[in-house]
C-alpha cells in the first residue's frame, strides 16, 4: 500500500541486521537490557497504533490490557501454579477480552469521549492494583500494592543475550502480524471508519463490530507485550497499568506517524534508547516525552513519517500538487 512507501525495500532488513549485530559488538549488559525493554515497548507502541492510528479510536488507557496481561501472568504462575506457556496464553486471551469490552463500551462514543472513557477505565485498574495488597506471599511478605507480584519463572537469571534476541524476535513477529492486519481487508475498512464513520456506515460497514475488532487485536498484541515485559522484569507492578505508560504509547505513535505501525516502532526504539540510555531519572524522562509530544503535535502533526513523506513529495518529482495545509482533513491525519 501507498502508506508504507518510504519503508519498502531493504530498510527493515538493514535495521534488523544492525540490531542482530549489536550485542556481538557491545556486550554491555546495561545497554542490552535497555534495548530488550525497548523492543517490548516498541511492540506495545505498534499495538496502540492498531487502535489509535489505523482505526482512529483515540485510546488513553492502552496500559490496561498491557498491565492486565502482566498481572495475569504473575498471578497464574505464582498463585495458581500454572505452567508458564499456559499462563502466557491465558494472559493474552484476557487482554483481548478486556480490549473487546472497552471497545464495546466506547463504540457509541465520538472523538474525545473515547479518550475520556479509556483514560478513566485505565485509571480504575491502576488504583485497584496500587490499593490492594491482596495475597500474603510465601515467607509472610505481602504481595500487591506498589511492589507488585512476582512471576514464577522456570529459569533463573536469563542471560541478557537470550533476553535480547527473544525480545527482538517477538518484536519482528508482532510488527509483521500487525502490519499484515493493518494492510488486510479489515485494516482497510478500519481506515475507512477512521476517515469518516458516516461514509463507512452508509457503504454498509458494520462499524461497531470493526471498532471492537480493532480494540481486540490491538489489546491482544498489547497483552503479549505486557506478558513479555512481566517475564523480562520478573514482576508485574502497578506501573504496568499507569497513565504514564498509556501516554508513552500515544507519544511514540504520534512522533513516529500514526497509522503506519513501523513509524511508532522506530520512534519507540529511538526515544526509549535515547532517554533510558542517558540514565535520566523517571520524572525527567516523562517530562521529555511530554515535551517531545507537544512539539510534534504543534509543528509536525503527521509525525516523522508523515513529515518525511510530505518533504519527499514536495522535493521529489511528484511535486506537482500544491503543498497541503496541515491538519485540515477530518480524520486528523495531517498528511495522509
Amino acid at each position: 500500500m501507498r502508506n508504507a512507501a518510504p519503508f519498502r525495500g531493504g530498510w527493515p532488513a538493514a535495521g534488523i541486521g544492525l540490531l542482530l549485530l549489536f550485542p556481538l559488538s557491545c556486550p554491555d549488559a546495561f545497554f542490552l537490557d535497555v534495548f530488550t525493554t525497548g523492543f517490548l515497548l516498541a511492540a506495545f507502541a505498534a499495538s496502540w497504533d492498531v487502535v489509535g492510528g489505523v482505526s482512529g479510536q483515540l485510546t488513553l488507557g492502552h496500559a490496561l490490557p498491557f498491565g492486565a496481561a502482566a498481572y495475569a501472568c504473575a498471578l497464574l504462575t505464582s498463585v495458581a501454579g500454572w505452567p508458564l506457556p499456559l499462563a502466557v496464553a491465558a494472559a493474552v486471551l484476557l487482554a483481548a477480552a478486556v480490549g473487546t469490552g472497552i471497545g464495546a463500551l466506547s463504540t457509541p462514543l465520538a472523538g474525545p469521549f473515547v479518550a475520556l472513557l479509556t483514560l478513566a477505565s485505565g485509571e480504575i485498574a491502576h488504583e485497584a492494583a496500587v490499593g490492594n495488597t491482596f495475597f500474603p506471599g510465601p515467607g509472610g511478605y505481602a504481595w500487591g500494592g506498589e511492589g507488585g507480584i512476582p512471576v514464577a519463572l522456570p529459569w533463573r537469571d536469563a542471560s541478557p543475550f537470550s533476553s535480547y534476541y527473544t525480545a527482538l524476535a517477538f518484536l519482528c513477529l508482532a510488527s509483521f502480524g500487525m502490519l499484515r492486519f493493518s494492510r488486510s481487508g479489515a485494516g482497510l475498512i478500519l481506515r475507512a471508519v477512521a476517515g469518516s464513520p458516516i461514509t463507512a456506515q452508509a457503504s454498509g460497514v458494520p462499524i461497531a463490530r470493526f471498532k471492537r475488532l480493532a480494540f481486540a487485536v490491538g489489546s491482544a498484541f498489547a497483552g503479549a507485550a505486557g506478558a513479555g515485559f512481566a517475564l523480562h522484569v520478573g514482576r508485574a507492578t502497578a506501573t504496568d497499568l499507569s497513565l504514564e505508560l498509556s501516554f508513552q504509547a500515544a507519544t511514540f505513535a504520534a512522533v513516529g506517524g500514526r497509522g503506519t505501525i513501523v513509524g511508532p516502532v522506530v520512534a519507540a526504539l529511538v526515544l526509549h534508547v535515547l532517554f533510558q540510555g542517558l540514565s535520566l531519572p523517571p520524572s525527567a524522562r516523562v517530562l521529555l516525552y511530554a515535551l517531545t509530544l507537544l512539539v510534534t503535535l504543534r509543528f509536525f502533526p503527521g509525525g516523522v513519517v508523515g513529515t518525511a513523506r510530505d518533504l519527499a513529495s514536495r522535493l521529489g518529482g511528484k511535486g506537482m500538487r500544491p503543498p497541503r495545509r496541515r491538519g485540515r482533513n477530518r480524520s486528523g491525519e495531517g498528511t495522509p
Binding site: 463500551l105 465520538a110 475520556l116 478513566a120 501516554f247 525527567a284 517530562l287 503535535l297 502533526p301 486528523g332
Partner: protein
C-alpha cells in the same frame, strides 16, 4: 463521639464550593473554546503549590495566595491557549493527547521542583461549633470566596461585558463577522478559566496533602459536573459540585481517601455509557 455525618456534610460543602469554581472554568472552556481541557487539573495543582510556596514565606492566608496563583495561572493559560490550543483545536487527536501531555509535564516538573512527598500547609486553629462540630477557617474562606467569584461570573456573563463570550459560544462565525477578535477572546477565556482552577487549588490547599497528582480527582469531578449539568447554568454547576464534594468527602471518610477518586472514575465511565453523546452541546455544535 457524636455522629460524623454533620462534619462530613460541612467539609464536603466547603470543598464543593471551590470545586464549583474549577468546574465553571471547565464549562467556560467548553463553551467558548469548545475543547476538553485535560490539563485543567494541573492548574489546580499549580494553585496549591503556589499557596504552599507563599505560606512557606510567612503569608499563611489562602486569601492572599489565591490572587497570586490566579495571575500566574492566567499567564500560563494564555500561553497554552495561544500557542497550542488555538492552532490545533480542529485536530481531534492533538487536543486530548496534547492537553494530557501538558498535565503530565506539569506533574513531573512539580515532582522535580518540590519532590514527590506530600506537603502540608499550616491551616490555623479551627473554630469549635456546637456539638463538637469543627469549622475550619480555610473552609469558610474557600466557600465564601468561591461563591462570590461565581456570582461575579454569572453577572459578568449575563451583562454587557459577557456578550462576546455568549455570542462566540453560540456562533463564532457571526462573532467574527461582527469584528470581534475571536482568537484573542478564545485564548483570554482559556487563561481566565485556568486562573479559576488555580484559585480553587489555592483555596483548597490547606484541606489535605499537596502532591503532584492531586489535580486528577478534581479534573474528573469537573468533567462529571460538565457532562451532567451542562454549560448554561452557573447555579446548576454550583449545586452539583457541592453534591459531588459531599459525596467524595463521604467516600473518603467512610471507606478510604482513594475510594473517592475511584468513585469519580466510575462515574465518568457510567455517565459516558448512559449518555454516549457526552456533552450534548459540544457534540451538536462541532460539525
Amino acid at each position: 463521639m457524636a455522629s460524623p455525618l454533620p462534619q462530613v456534610l460541612l467539609d464536603g460543602l466547603f470543598a464543593g464550593g471551590a470545586y464549583a469554581l474549577m468546574a465553571a472554568g471547565m464549562a467556560l472552556i467548553l463553551g467558548v473554546v469548545k475543547v476538553i481541557n485535560l490539563s485543567h487539573g494541573a492548574f489546580f495543582t499549580l494553585g496549591a503549590y503556589i499557596a504552599y510556596a507563599v505560606a512557606e514565606r510567612g503569608v499563611g492566608s489562602p486569601i492572599a495566595a489565591a490572587p497570586i496563583a490566579a495571575v500566574i495561572a492566567f499567564a500560563f493559560g494564555v500561553f497554552l491557549g495561544k500557542s497550542f490550543v488555538n492552532p490545533v483545536r480542529n485536530h481531534p487527536f492533538a487536543l486530548p493527547v496534547g492537553t494530557l501531555a501538558c498535565a503530565l509535564l506539569f506533574e513531573q516538573a512539580a515532582q522535580i521542583i518540590w519532590g514527590p512527598h506530600p506537603l502540608s500547609i499550616e491551616a490555623g486553629a479551627p473554630w469549635i461549633g456546637p456539638g463538637g462540630l469543627v469549622v475550619r477557617r480555610w473552609g469558610v474562606v474557600a466557600f465564601l470566596s468561591s461563591a462570590a467569584l461565581l456570582g461575579g461570573l454569572e453577572w459578568l456573563l449575563s451583562a454587557r461585558p459577557g456578550l462576546p463570550l455568549r455570542l462566540i459560544a453560540e456562533d463564532e462565525e457571526i462573532a467574527g463577522s461582527l469584528g470581534m477578535d475571536v482568537e484573542a477572546i478564545r485564548y483570554l477565556t482559556f487563561g481566565g478559566a485556568c486562573a479559576m482552577a488555580a484559585a480553587a487549588g489555592a483555596l483548597l490547599s490547606p484541606s489535605g496533602a499537596v502532591t503532584p497528582t492531586m489535580g486528577r480527582a478534581p479534573l474528573l469531578l469537573s468533567l462529571v459536573v460538565v457532562i451532567v449539568a451542562g454549560m448554561d447554568s452557573v447555579a446548576a454547576i454550583f449545586l452539583l459540585s457541592i453534591g459531588l464534594g459531599i459525596f467524595g468527602n463521604a467516600c473518603a471518610w467512610f471507606l478510604s481517601p482513594q475510594w473517592s477518586y475511584v468513585a469519580l472514575l466510575g462515574a465518568v465511565c457510567l455517565l459516558l455509557s448512559i449518555r454516549p453523546a457526552g456533552i450534548v452541546a459540544l457534540a451538536g455544535r462541532r460539525d
